[in-house]
C-alpha cells in the first residue's frame, strides 16, 4: 500500500491584511510541483467514495493519477468528461461536504485537496485554450434554455455535446448568472467565468443576452411559434427577501442581490471608471449567515468601508456559510455578532440609515430544518450605529418567467415543481433545475440538476422515452 501522507499541501493565498483592500483572487492556486505533491497523497481507492460524493460524479482518482504522472492533457480529459465547468467548481464547490468529506484519507488524516487539484487542472486547460471535443452530427432538435447560470450552462453544454441545437436566453447583459452577478471577483475571477462561457459557446451554444423570458418571449411562445422541442428552466432564485421590519426602505439599505450586483456585475469597485456607483460610508452591517452574507461583507470591506459586521440570529455552528469563507471573513477583520437579530432600522431626517436596533437570541428546540430555533431574549434589545445595511437573508425564484406558462406548477414557496432525478416539470416538454426548483442552494447542485436534465431531454428528443402525464 502507498505511503500515507497525513497533511495536505497548503495552497498559497493573499495575506489577509493585503487582500482586504483589493478584489484580486484570494486563493492563488497550485503550481505543478505543489499539485503533484498533493496528487501523491491520493490512495487510488478501488471503490472510490469521492466519485459518489460528487453531484456530477467526476472521475476524481483518474484525473489525480494523471496529474501525478505529469499527463496534463490526460487529466483534462478525465476531468471534463463529467464536468464542463471545472475551473468554476474547483473554486466554489463546497468540497468539504461532498467529495472531500468522504475521502478515505480523511477518516484519520486530512482528505485529499480535490478542489484545489480540480482547479489546477482546469486552469491549466484554460491557459492553453481549452480543446473542443468532437461533436456528433446535428440531430435537428432545438432546445431553449432559460437562464445562463450554472444549471443552464451545464445543461446547454451537455445538450450540445449530444448534438442538439441549443439557445440560451439570458436576461442580463452578461452570461454566468450568479457566477457573474453574485460571487465576487476575489472568489471567482470573472475572466474564469468568461472563459468557461466561451467554451460553452464554442460547443455551438447560442447565448442570447438581454433576453427576458416572460417579456420578450413567453414559455408558451418558445414551445409554440418559436419552434423549440424542449425547454430547460434554470432561472435560479433571483428575488431578494427583506426582513419586513420598520425602516427597511431608508437610503443605505440594500438587498444583498443589489449590493453584489452593483459590485460584481456592474463593477462598482472600479467607479468612476465604471459608471455604476455604490455607497461607501464607513460602518456596514450585513444581516445573514450564508455565503452571500460572507461575500457581501468581504465586498463591503474591499470597497473601503472601515467596519463591517455580520449579524446572524443563530450561532456559528448553524451558520450555512462554508467554513472556509467564514474563516476568510474573520481573518480579514469582519466582526461577527452572533445570536443577534435586527428589529428596527433608524433613519435620519434626510432618509438615510443611522442605526439599527437588535435583540439577542438564544437557541431553543430544533425546527423543521433540524437546526435549533433562535428565540429572542426578552429585554435584551440594544442599538448599533450603522451607515449601510445589507440584507442577505435569502432569495426566492423570480416569477417573471412564468407569464404565459400554462400548466407549469409551482410550490407555495414559488419554486417549480419538478422531479428530482430528471428535472421534469408538470408542463409538457419543460424541464427545470437548480435554485428555481430547490430554492437557493449551491452552484454544483445546480450543475448536477442541469446535467441530469440534459441526459433526460436527450433521451426524450431521441424518442427513447415518453413522459407520463405529458401531452
Amino acid at each position: 500500500m502507498a505511503k500515507v501522507i497525513p497533511n495536505r499541501v497548503e495552497m498559497p493565498r493573499q495575506a489577509p491584511e493585503v487582500r482586504g483592500h483589493n478584489f484580486n483572487e484570494v486563493a492563488l492556486g497550485f503550481d505543478m510541483e505543489l499539485a503533484q505533491a498533493e496528487a501523491e497523497r491520493c490512495l487510488q481507492c478501488k471503490k472510490p467514495k469521492c466519485i459518489e460524493g460528487c453531484p456530477v460524479n467526476v472521475s476524481i482518482p483518474e484525473f489525480i493519477l494523471k496529474i501525478k504522472e505529469g499527463d496534463m492533457p490526460g487529466a483534462v480529459e478525465a476531468l471534463k468528461g463529467d464536468n464542463n465547468l471545472p475551473a468554476i467548481c474547483g473554486r466554489v464547490c463546497p468540497q468539504e461536504t461532498q467529495c472531500e468529506e468522504v475521502c478515505v484519507l480523511g477518516k484519520k488524516y486530512q482528505p485529499v485537496a480535490i478542489g484545489r487539484l480540480e482547479r489546477f487542472v482546469a486552469d491549466w486547460d484554460l491557459a492553453r485554450g481549452a480543446a473542443i471535443p468532437e461533436l456528433p452530427p446535428p440531430t435537428g432538435k432545438k432546445v431553449a434554455i432559460i437562464g445562463a447560470g450554472p444549471a443552464g450552462l451545464t445543461c446547454a453544454a451537455d445538450l450540445a455535446r449530444y448534438g442538439h441545437a441549443v439557445t440560451i436566453f439570458e436576461s442580463l447583459h452578461a452570461a454566468g448568472g450568479v457566477l457573474i452577478y453574485g460571487i465576487p471577483e476575489f472568489r471567482l475571477p470573472k475572466a474564469i467565468v468568461k472563459a468557461e462561457v466561451d467554451y460553452v459557446r464554442q460547443l455551438g451554444v447560442d447565448i442570447r443576452l438581454d433576453a427576458v423570458i416572460g417579456k420578450l418571449f413567453t414559455i408558451d411562445e418558445l414551445l409554440g411559434e418559436q419552434g423549440y422541442d424542449a425547454i430547460f428552466l434554470g432561472t435560479g432564485a433571483g428575488l431578494p427577501r427583506f426582513m419586513g421590519i420598520p425602516g427597511e426602505n431608508y437610503n443605505g439599505v440594500y438587498s444583498a442581490n443589489e449590493f453584489l450586483t452593483r459590485t460584481n456585475l456592474m463593477k462598482s469597485y472600479l467607479f468612476p471608471e465604471y459608471d455604476t456607483p455604490i455607497k461607501v460610508k464607513g460602518r456596514v452591517v450585513v444581516v445573514g449567515g450564508g455565503n452571500v452574507a460572507m461575500d457581501s461583507a468581504r465586498c463591503a470591506l474591499r470597497l473601503g468601508n472601515e467596519e463591517v459586521t455580520i449579524v446572524y440570529r443563530r450561532s456559528r455552528k448553524e451558520m450555512p456559510a462554508r467554513l472556509e469563507e467564514a474563516e476568510n471573513a474573520e481573518e480579514e477583520g469582519i466582526i461577527f455578532e452572533l445570536l443577534t437579530n435586527p428589529v428596527e432600522i433608524y433613519g435620519d431626517d434626510n432618509g438615510w440609515v443611522r442605526g439599527m436596533r437588535c435583540i439577542r437570541m438564544e437557541l431553543g428546540e430544533p425546527d423543521d430544518s433540524g437546526r435549533r430555533r433562535p428565540v429572542p431574549i426578552p429585554g435584551s434589545e440594544f442599538d448599533m450605529e450603522v451607515d449601510i445595511v445589507v440584507v442577505a437573508i435569502g432569495t426566492s425564484p423570480n416569477p417573471l418567467v412564468f407569464t404565459e406558462a400554462g400548466g407549469l406548477e409551482r410550490t407555495r414557496w414559488g419554486t417549480v415543481v419538478a422531479d428530482e432525478d430528471m428535472g421534469r416539470a408538470t408542463k409538457s416538454r419543460v424541464w427545470a433545475g437548480g435554485d428555481v426548483v430547490t430554492g437557493a442552494a449551491t452552484v454544483i447542485s445546480a450543475m448536477g440538476a442541469g446535467k441530469r436534465a440534459a441526459a433526460d431531454i436527450d433521451r426524450f428528443l431521441k424518442g427513447e422515452i415518453a413522459v407520463e402525464g405529458w401531452d
Partner: protein, 277 residues
Amino acid sequence: MYKILAKEALAPVVKLMVISAPEVARKATAGQFVIVRASEEGERIPLTIADYDRDEGTITIVYQEVGKTTMHLGAMEVGDELASFTGPLGNPTEIENYGTVICAAGGLCIALVFPIARALREAGNYVINIIGARNKELIFWEDKMRSVSDELIICTDDGSYGRKAFVMHPLQELLETRDGIGHVWVIGPAIMMKFTALATKPFNVPTTVSLNSIMVDGTGMCGSCRCEVGGETKFACVHGPEFDGHQVDWDLLLARQGIYLDEEKQSLERWQATTGE
C-alpha cells in the same frame, strides 16, 4: 446589435433616438420601459418607451441630458450601437374605455405620455391632453400630441407659449368644471407628480403615475427601485412602473432618487473633463 437608426434634438438637452430592436418592438406597449446601457463600462438606466413601430422593428427613446449616462447617449450618433437594450419591461398601462380621460405631462415626459394617450384614444376614450414645460423652447411634439387629443392644452411656466401655468392648474380647472372624467394620468418629475396627484385627490378621480426610480436590472432581482404604495413595499420595475398616485409615498421616492447625488456629480464632472464639454 442595437443600432441607433435616427437621432433628433427635440428641445435643448432633450434628445430622441430610434433604436433597432425588432423583438422588443414586437412586444412593446404603452407604459413599459427598457433598460439601456450605452457602453461596456456603462450603468443600466431605465427609459420609458416613447414610441414603437412593430413593422419597422424599432423603439423610440427620449431622454434629457442631465447626467453622465444621458450625456454619453447624447454624444452617440446614428450608426452607433448601444451595449445593451433590454425590454419591454414593467407592466403595460391599463387601457380601457374610461369615458373621458386626462393625460398631463411635463417637460421630457411629453414623449412618454404620447403612447399612453394614443392607446387610450384608440380604446374609445375622449382624451384631453395637457402638456407643459418651463418655456416655449422646451415644448415639443405639439402636432404629434394633437393627433392623439380630442383637446390639447399647452402651458409654460413663463407664459412664453400657450397658457402661463403649471400643468396641474388646467387639470384642476377641468376637474372642477367637467363631469364624468374617469381617469387621470400624470407623467413627469417626481415632485410634479406628487403635487399633481395631491391636486386630483379631492375630486376622487383615479390618478395613475409612472415612477422613475433608480434601477439596476429592471426585472425584480435587486430591489433598488423599491417604493411604498398604500403602505406596502413595491418594486417599481415589476409591480409598476405605473401606480395609484394617491397611494404613493412621494417623500420616500424623492429621498431614494437622491441616493447617488454625490457620485452622479463626480461621474458627470469626470465626463465633462474628458470630453471637454
